[in-house]
């Protein structure tokens, strides 16, 4: 019996939430200590999972299965594979950081930290679920703490943002629920089948009518597309990101946005391979538009946090692009970008939070020359900026490059257009940096306090991991690859689609194909 990682990863933060909630809010220090401690334990667990993970295996590992709701055939079915592994680890990593960065929280501290831990549990649940119902449960539950975090501890327009976030994503989930239900019930009606929500069973079912599959794909996809968010379903994102407290933004960008892309990978591609192939052009188009659109709109924002928020739209565009390229390279690139974006954008939000803490504004115009008065902040901000815009040697590049090249081999036009996003990213990020950090500081900017040790401790790990993954992405890619390959071959086995083999691309192949062309 292997160590029940899934349950542990779920239970530790959940129990921590209960404990945290039980401590009176007046004992602020105790609350913080417990919450951070719990999140560190979770981090340790996810690290242990990473170590224990067998990197050669494509299927689920550490699977736990137990009947939950018998009459509905619902199992408590959890496990991890290459696709979810790093999402889990990223969750484990970002939470201690987000909790440490929550220094400005002063009202109802216990509730805040308890909700954070609930959120962590829900996210772990989402990434670890193999049962569709279970997945949906966590998917919806996750909304609640996030809603409260934005709505209670956010900034001025927090209520609007929180409600918008909730309603928007709930709308997506509604369709997802419909999709899950329809799929499971249609499957149950098939001869010899019974009602089950087990992804592994459902994905092997071949009896789904192609037309129905397309509708179901859309139902699933709508939900995921909102979460990603794909253009034009993105407008909840800037509001939610900007109004959320710093830690909330970090988690929103770092983890919640990944849910959509993760959903596409985990469910859309596996359950509806043919529909995925059919709809790939649509999603690629939206992703490409998102890349350009996010970048262009980001450039025009006056609020620094909005710049970062819109940049997420662009970055996640790369993820979806890579995913729906339906090539091993593309999907690995997408996954890599997910992790990388979690690190860099998380760090960016932390830094913007620091700027806000000092000046109580996020308006770019209000800053200037901060690099001079706060050299560490400036330097780190710049480093993170470059990581974010995909400078080789930092993690952003590897992901973007792989998604683009993975797309290029099958869908050239999208990759070409999307690659211009690389230029635009430099424009808006460096322009923002220039306006905030360069020049001669005046007024409050001249007496800007540089980063404290705690702040460094929150940002530097993210930057460090970004650098590490930029130079040595292998630990991630090699664990991801078997699962991605299995996913692609699953899609190939069910459709006419075949991804071009790199082995076929070599010079000999070129020579022979040109001969054929000559005939």
């Amino acid at each position: 019996m292997a160590f029940p990682y899934a349950t542990a990863l779920l239970a530790v933060p959940a129990a921590g939430a209960a404990v945290t909630a039980a401590i009176p809010g007046s004992k602020e220090k105790a609350v913080r200590a417990v919450a951070v401690g719990v999140s560190l334990v979770t981090l340790a667990l996810s690290a242990a999972l990473l170590v224990d993970f067998d990197k050669g295996v494509a299927g689920y590992q550490f699977v736990q299965s137990k009947m939950w709701i018998r009459p509905l055939g619902i199992h408590y079915l959890m496990g991890v594979d290459g696709i979810s592994l790093f999402m889990v680890v990223l969750t484990g990593l970002l939470f201690p950081i987000a909790l440490l960065a929550s220094t400005h929280v002063s009202k109802r501290v216990n509730a805040y930290f308890a909700l954070m831990l609930v959120l962590e549990a829900a996210l772990m649940g989402i990434f670890l679920s193999i049962d569709l119902f279970l997945f949906f449960v966590f998917w919806e539950v996750m909304l609640v703490p996030m809603y409260f975090l934005i709505g209670t501890w956010g900034y001025d327009r927090r209520i609007y943002a929180a409600v918008k976030f909730f309603i928007y994503t709930a709308a997506g989930s509604a369709l997802l629920l419909l999709g899950i239900l329809s799929l499971a019930i249609l499957h149950a009606k098939a001869p010899g089948a019974h009602l089950t929500f087990d992804l592994r069973t459902l994905m092997e079912w071949k009896g789904l009518n192609p037309n129905t599959a397309r509708w179901l794909f859309l139902a699933f996809g709508a939900s995921f597309a909102i979460k990603v968010p794909l253009f034009p379903l993105h407008t909840w994102l800037p509001d939610a990101h900007v109004e959320a407290p710093t830690a909330g933004s970090v988690l929103l960008a770092g983890l919640l946005l990944k849910l959509g892309a993760y959903g596409f990978l985990r469910f859309s591609l596996t359950l509806f391979p043919q529909a995925s192939v059919d709809f790939a052009p649509l999603l690629l188009t939206l992703a490409t538009i998102g890349i350009l659109y996010g970048a262009v709109v980001a450039a025009m924002q006056r609020d620094l946090k909005k710049v970062v928020a819109y940049s997420s739209v662009a970055h996640l565009g790369f993820v979806v692009l890579g995913t729906f390229a339906l090539t091993t390279i593309g999907i690995e690139g997408g996954l890599f970008t997910m992790v990388s974006h979690g690190l860099t954008t998380g760090a960016l939000f932390l830094l913007v939070g620091i700027l806000y803490d000092r000046r109580h504004t996020r308006q770019i115009d209000a800053f200037g020359g901060v690099w001079k008065s706060a050299p560490k902040l400036g330097g780190i901000f710049l480093a993170v900026t470059f990581a974010s815009i995909g400078l080789p040697g930092l993690s952003g590049f590897v992901g973007e490059f792989l998604s683009l090249i993975g797309t290029f081999v099958v869908h050239r036009p999208y990759a070409i257009v999307a690659a211009t996003g690389v230029i635009l990213a430099a424009v808006y990020m460096l322009w923002s940096f220039q306006r905030v950090f360069t020049g001669e500081p005046t007024g409050d900017n001249a007496t800007f306090k540089d980063m404290s040790r705690l702040e460094l401790a929150t940002v530097l790990p993210l930057l460090g991991f970004s650098l590490f993954l930029g130079i040595y992405p292998k630990p991630l890619l090699e664990r991801v690859e078997p699962s991605v390959k299995a996913l692609i071959s699953h899609v190939e086995s069910r459709t006419d689609y075949h991804q071009p083999k790199v082995a076929d691309l070599g010079p000999k192949a070129v020579a022979s194909s040109s001969k054929e062309g000559g005939r």
């Binding site: 009459p71 449960v137 909304l143 709505g151 209670t152 409600v163 309603i167 509604a174 419909l178 239900l181």
Partner: protein, 515 residues
């Protein structure tokens, strides 16, 4: 039916003397109803003997609860009987159906009754309303609801409807200090009487169409005969649908709901929302699914329209309400829509999902109204959204319970509300009603919006100026232990049915199998 025929055979031809053979009475089959009516009368008796000399309010509650417990025992006993006999049967010359369905529906109603009594206790004390009339009327109304669940004859359905309604009219108008209460009672009464007349006309037409009012009789007649004209039957069914639709607050027969829910004393509203709806749906299910089952092709599209209208109107109009009770009234309309989705499926799964929905809704809605009762404070007047401002810091537990219950009503997972909606949608999808299901899921989103409004007020809007900060909660809100108990039970049930719903779903399924 066989027993009935035998009885008739004995009774009519020869015996012309004044002796009338009394039919065999299976007391157990009507035990719950009898228990409640008996206890209600006992309460009136106690009050008459006491003549207001001593404060017996605690005793009234205990007696009432004892009655509910007795009824519950009977119900449980019935369950074992039904399960052991393995089949449904009728008693009292076919007037009473003894089956899993009635047992389940009774369980729901008894739960509503017990919680209704508990919630009301704090209210009665606070408003200094003495006397057991409230309890007696509540129990009598509950007995009407129970009668409805087991009614196997349209005439019993009608009588039960009247019993539950007339008691509710009085309860709605119970608060003499608020003009709204009287208005609610009167409006409910006028419309209730009107709809009863319509229902009764429908019964008459069905009687003309089939020659009987017994539901099994109707079903058998329709199954074995092809009517040369179905107009009479369909007209009757339509009018019955109107009458029952009125009771469950389905659009377009819902107009009374907001006014009555808002005007009635808060505990009454909770009881009304839970019990009357459950009873109405029990009757609707029995009459249509079992009685008019042969004509489901005709009534299903109609129920579909009612369901869609209820879902949309309920959730959309709730958006613009400023009064929490009124908002909850509209929400109850949309909840009726969800149950109608289950009804519309016209399958065992659909019926069981509707039953399960009613069970969960009972706890959710009474719990919610328990909070509303407490927040309403003395005079039962503070129900506007603004009155919830800052509740999160003033009374964290209260606000927490309210939040949880509202999220449950919104259908967030790990609450019973989610499982209930999931079941209903599953049944609908199973019946290939994708359009209806789509409307259902979309309205959950709209509905989420107005539940969130309350939550926003409680947590995210700062408390109004002049009110004391946290810690003062206990003085601001008098929390009666009984009301607290009801709230706790409601929350607990909502959690349990949300996290471990398996047994309850099984119960509902089992109930439906014996239908």
């Amino acid at each position: 039916m066989i027993a009935l025929a035998a009885l008739l055979g004995q009774a009519t031809p020869t015996d012309t003397s004044t002796k009338i053979p009394v039919p065999q009475v299976d007391w157990l089959s009507v035990g719950p109803e009898v228990a409640l009516i008996g206890v209600a009368m006992l309460l009136v008796l106690i009050a008459a003997l006491n003549r207001g000399r001593r404060d017996l309010s605690g005793v009234y509650l205990d007696v009432g609860l004892a009655g509910v417990a007795a009824a519950g025992l009977c119900t449980w006993k019935l369950w074992t009987v039904v399960v052991h006999s393995g089949d449904a049967y009728q008693s009292l010359t076919g007037m009473v159906a003894v089956d899993g369905f009635s047992v389940f529906a009774r369980t729901v109603i008894l739960a509503a009754t017990a919680l209704g009594l508990l919630v009301a206790q704090g209210y009665l004390r606070r408003e200094q309303v003495e006397g057991p009339e409230y309890h007696a009327l509540l129990l009598l109304s509950a007995s009407g609801m129970l009668l409805m669940t087991s009614a196997n004859d349209l005439i019993v359905v009608f009588l039960a409807l009247e019993i539950l309604s007339i008691a509710l009219y009085v309860l709605a108008a119970f608060d003499r200090n608020r003009l709204e209460s009287g208005e609610a009672g009167l409006k409910y009464f006028v419309l209730g009487a009107f709809s009863s007349a319509v229902l009764l006309y429908g019964v008459a037409l069905v009687y003309g169409a089939t020659g009987t009012t017994s539901l099994t009789g109707i079903a058998n007649y329709l199954a074995s005969n092809t009517l040369f004209s179905s107009g009479l039957l369909l007209a009757g069914a339509a009018l019955i649908l109107v009458g029952l639709g009125f009771k469950v607050a389905a659009v377009p027969f819902h107009m009374w709901t907001p006014d009555v829910y808002q005007g009635s004393p808060s505990p009454v509203t909770g009881f009304m929302a839970a019990g009357a709806k459950a009873a109405g749906f029990a009757a609707l299910l029995r009459v249509f699914v079992s009685g008019f089952g042969a004509y489901s092709v005709d009534w299903r599209p109609l129920v579909l329209v009612l369901a869609i209208a209820s879902l949309l109107l309920g959730s959309i109009v709730a958006l613009v309400q400023q009064d929490v009770k009124r908002m909850l009234a509209y929400s109850s309309i949309s909840h009726a829509g969800y149950v109608l989705i289950g009804v519309q499926a016209d399958t065992k799964g659909g019926v069981s999902s509707a039953l399960f929905y009613l069970l969960t809704y009972t706890f959710m809605v009474i719990g919610t109204f328990a909070v509303v009762t407490i927040v309403g404070r003395k005079g039962d007047r503070r129900h506007s959204l603004d009155d919830y401002r800052g509740l999160g810091s003033r009374a964290p537990l209260l606000a927490g319970s309210m939040t949880f219950l509202l999220l449950a009503q919104a259908g967030i997972p790990l609450t019973s509300g989610f499982v209930a909606k999931f079941n209903v949608f599953a049944a609908s999808v199973d019946a290939r009603e994708y359009g209806l299901t789509l409307v259902g899921v979309i309205t959950t989103v709209i509905a989420a919006f107005f539940y969130l409004r309350v939550i926003v007020m409680m947590y995210m809007s700062d408390p109004p100026e002049g009110t004391a900060p946290a810690g003062d909660g206990l003085r601001a809100f008098t929390l009666d232990p009984a009301t607290g108990l009801a709230l706790g039970v409601a929350v607990l049930a909502t959690v349990v049915m949300g996290v471990l719903p398996g047994a309850f779903i099984d119960f509902a399924r089992h109930a439906t199998l014996l239908f």
